[in-house]
């Protein structure tokens, strides 16, 4: 076993050394795909929180922070340095003095303040408002009581002081593409909606709605020598089968794979060489409404977790394109406890727990689900006979994703199955189970546990990172024990890429969203 480990490690080191030895090639075209629908919302990323729109936005725009996929954390991007006050509430950002917008104008503190203030326009509904609300005075602007965010101050052209309302790490909020920094003057013009100007590595060239977006290398991009590629085309391709043909035909450089394609690509000797896999920060769960009498009993919730053979479903239906969930926090979370064990498949134990809870003959519930192949009706159909074995009957209520989101927020359900964001910030993510969090925000199961609340409150208040992580791990363990949900799986995102495309990053927050400046195209690419 040890020998095998040593050989594997040596091999991995050799391979990674080989990877580092590769010299990025300049030039060429990146042919990316946007796989989550047949269009982009528009060309104003401030109005969209969708991954589909972030895919194009990362080419054109930049935020104060960016997600470093290899370090698995947000790092400064448009600022060179940040100083934090002793009380952890005041952040002073020294902005880059080499960041130029695509019209050639240098970025200043005014642009940062304007872009963040815009999010709080009370007459509009910018999804990024929830992230800016951590800045002192942002809520007053949102309510129309002030025109400027009092917690945002321009010290000089390249220095911004940001005062927060509570001690939180703002990097998790400010790396979001929907908080991209716009040029204050130009962004107010009508033409901006059709010809976006940003600070990103590529400059906007053309957008054919519903088809593609094309951008070319921005010569004044602040990272020396980057971007490597001359051009990027992002094709909108919502249909997986069409992406498959186009990828095999070498018309596109990347494709996000579903379970069926994952199996086919893994089995192919050539295609299997270009698979990038990452444990994304999404947890697939069955939410159990605590207002529905049987689910108010912990023993019943535990029985559900014992009664379902999740491993079998992951293997047979999800085709191993997922990792078994143990609790809420995903594998890529810094507070994930790798020693935590999932609930074993034990129908007898489930029956015993149901009998103890007063349901020896089981009960019936309605399960709201969409048609999603990885966390929808196909999964529910596989679970039904397992639950029937312990006397629990299920009635499926099929809905669309839009309706599911409404149902979960309103509590108008008995159980739902969904894929929910469980990162990257473990504290923010776990707060969804804090009793102070309303159902309409993200406490969908109305979870309430004083011990859990205490751990989260302490984690939020402490400066001791080790203690914070410890608390979060304990809170996650409480969720495992209390099971407000059936912990199904963590998504394994898989991206197929052509052999000539290098520098892709294993982004756990969303694999399809890449920092394009780090990607390069080898000469073997058929693209001109």
């Amino acid at each position: 076993m040890l020998k095998k480990f040593v050989i594997t490690t040596a091999l991995a080191l050799t391979l990674s050394a080989g990877a580092y030895a590769e010299t990025p090639r300049k030039g060429g075209t990146i042919r990316f795909t946007a796989p989550y629908g047949s269009s982009f919302a528009n060309l104003d990323i401030h109005t969209s929180n969708r991954a589909q729109d972030e895919i194009w936005a990362k080419a054109i725009h930049r935020s104060l922070y960016k997600w470093d996929a290899n370090a698995n954390k947000a790092v400064l991007d448009l600022a060179k340095e940040v100083k934090v006050s002793d009380d952890g509430l005041v952040y002073t950002y020294k902005l880059r003095d080499d960041a130029y917008f695509h019209n050639g104008r240098k970025m200043t503190a005014d642009d940062v303040i304007w872009s963040l203030t815009r999010q709080m326009d009370g007459a509009k509904a910018y999804p990024g408002a929830r992230y800016v609300r951590i800045i002192k005075g942002a809520i007053e602007v949102e309510k129309g009581q002030a025109k400027e965010i009092s917690g945002l101050k321009k010290i000089d052209d390249s220095t911004v002081e940001m005062t927060l309302t509570e001690k939180v790490d703002p990097s998790f909020n400010l790396y979001q593409p929907m908080l991209s920094i716009y040029p204050a003057d130009e962004a107010s013009k009508d033409t901006f909606a059709t010809k976006p100007i940003g600070l990103g590595p590529f400059k906007f060239v053309e957008y054919v709605p519903g088809s593609r977006l094309v951008a070319e290398r921005w010569e004044k991009f602040y990272e020396p020598g980057k971007p490597y590629a001359d051009r990027i085309t992002i094709s909108i391709m919502g249909e997986a089968a069409a992406r498959d043909v186009a990828f095999r035909n070498k018309e596109i450089d990347v494709s996000i794979l579903g379970p069926t394609q994952y199996v086919a690509y893994k089995a192919d000797s050539e295609l299997s060489k270009g698979l990038l896999e990452v444990a994304e920060v999404y947890t697939r769960v069955m939410g159990l409404n605590s207002n529905f009498k049987p689910f108010s009993d912990k023993r019943v919730r535990q029985a559900i977790n014992y009664a379902i053979d999740a491993d079998l479903i992951i293997k047979r239906l999800v085709k191993d394109k997922a990792y078994r969930a143990t609790s809420w926090l995903p594998i890529s979370s810094p507070a994930y406890d790798k020693d935590m064990k999932p609930y074993p498949y034990d129908p007898e134990k489930a029956k015993q727990l149901l009998a103890e809870a007063g349901y020896p003959d089981g009960f019936e519930f309605e399960w709201t689900a969409t048609s999603n192949e990885s966390w929808g009706i196909p999964i529910v159909e596989a679970v039904i006979p397992m639950l029937e074995k312990v006397g629990v009957k299920v009635k499926i209520k099929p809905v669309e994703g839009t309706v599911l989101s409404e149902v979960a927020r309103s509590g108008n359900y008995q159980a739902f199955i969904w894929s929910l964001t469980s990162g990257p910030d473990p504290l923010t993510s776990l707060k969804c189970f804090h009793s102070a969090t309303p159902q309409s925000a993200c406490n969908y199961t109305l979870f309430k546990n004083p011990e859990f609340d205490k751990l989260i409150d302490e984690a939020a208040a402490t400066d001791d990172q080790a203690k914070k992580l410890e608390n979060l791990k304990k809170a996650n363990a409480i969720l495992r024990e209390e099971v407000p949900m059936w912990w199904f799986n963590y998504n394994k995102a898989v991206m197929a890429h052509q052999p000539w495309l290098k520098g892709l990053q294993p982004n756990a927050t969303e694999l399809a969203v890449q920092n394009y400046e780090d990607i390069w195209v080898e000469a073997s690419s058929p693209a001109k």
């Binding site: 629908g37 919302a41 528009n42 509904a125 929830r130 709605p209 043909v245």
Partner: protein, 311 residues
């Protein structure tokens, strides 16, 4: 003729209004809003304040009758409203997608007409022959094939295996991109046109005036040209008109498959995301196109066959 056109346009008005009202009622009843669609993937949580503001910004928190009143008054001034998603006028959003859909619809109908009509004629002129049997088996198959499956098959064959054509995308002026989606969309109308043409020609071949023409010694080519073709054209044109509308409506599947940026894919996305003004606008435009094409067909039929009198 002019009075006929004016009358037809006026007759279309109640149809358009009824469709508009129907769409409004449907989307007022079904659950889900644009705001709830923004977190339908469970990825991004939209907080209650932003959702409420979104509903207010788009007037979704107004009572139904107020929204209907606004909608009707907008329509009366030819204003289709503003898209929730793009925050641009719906007319602009639709205009961007109309030309690709028109290209696809025209190309697929051209393909259907150029092959389907001659095939139907030949089959009818030689009933029971091998060409008749094969073409009618082909027509039935063409009508039965699911468009999605056929599109995928064409992709595999002509893009992946033979490498002749691109498998997806909108080439702008590059016609190579138009070929596969047009064939995939055009096969069903081709099959229907072949069958309809065959049936129409066979029917006319047995008519008294054709028998009289032949008995008077008119050559077969003249019979076909002057009597069969002219009389069958009325039925063929009517079928073409109806199929044009069907093709525009059915383009949804093909546009999504081939990443073709048309009205169909816009409509599907807008329904999923509850971008109601775009849904209403797109359906109205499709209905309008359908009515216009059929009016044009009626006019053409009257020109071809002077016996047709429109009152």
């Amino acid at each position: 003729m002019l009075s006929f056109i004016v009358r037809r346009l006026l007759q279309s008005l109640p149809i358009i209004l009824a469709v508009a009202a129907l769409i409004f009622v449907m989307f007022s009843v079904i659950p889900g809003t644009f705001a709830s669609s923004m977190s339908d993937d469970g990825r991004s949580v939209l907080d209650a304040e932003v959702m409420a503001r979104m509903n207010k910004e788009f007037g979704l928190d107004d009572p139904v009758y107020v929204r209907f009143g606004k909608y009707v008054s907008q329509l009366a001034t030819f204003d289709l409203g503003t898209s929730f998603r793009t925050r641009q006028p719906v007319a602009h959003v639709i205009a961007d997608r109309l030309w690709p859909t028109a290209q696809l619809a025209f190309a697929s109908m051209l393909f259907a007409i150029l092959i389907g009509v001659p095939l139907g004629f030949v089959a009818a002129l030689r009933p029971g022959s091998w060409i008749d049997t094969i073409s009618m088996i082909g027509a039935v198959s063409g009508l039965s094939l699911p468009k999605f499956w056929l599109g995928l098959l064409l992709m595999y064959l002509f893009a992946l295996m033979l490498g002749w054509l691109p498998s997806f995308g909108y080439g702008g002026g590059d016609l190579r991109y138009l070929i596969l989606p047009s064939i995939a969309l055009g096969v069903a109308p081709l099959a229907l046109l072949a069958r309809t043409t065959r049936a129409a020609v066979l029917d006319i071949m047995n008519a008294d005036f054709v028998r009289t023409a032949r008995s008077k010694g008119m050559s077969e080519s003249k019979v076909v040209r002057w009597h069969l073709t002219r009389n069958a054209l009325v039925i063929i044109l009517t079928t073409i008109g109806l199929q044009f509308g069907t093709v525009i409506g059915q383009a949804v599947v093909i546009e999504k498959l081939f990443s073709w940026p048309g009205l169909g894919s816009l409509l599907v996305d807008s329904v999923t995301l509850r971008d109601i003004p775009v849904v209403q606008g797109s359906i109205l435009v499709i209905v309008l196109l359908f009515l216009l094409i059929n009016m044009l067909v009626d006019v053409l039929c009257a020109i071809i066959d002077p016996r047709i009198k429109y009152t």
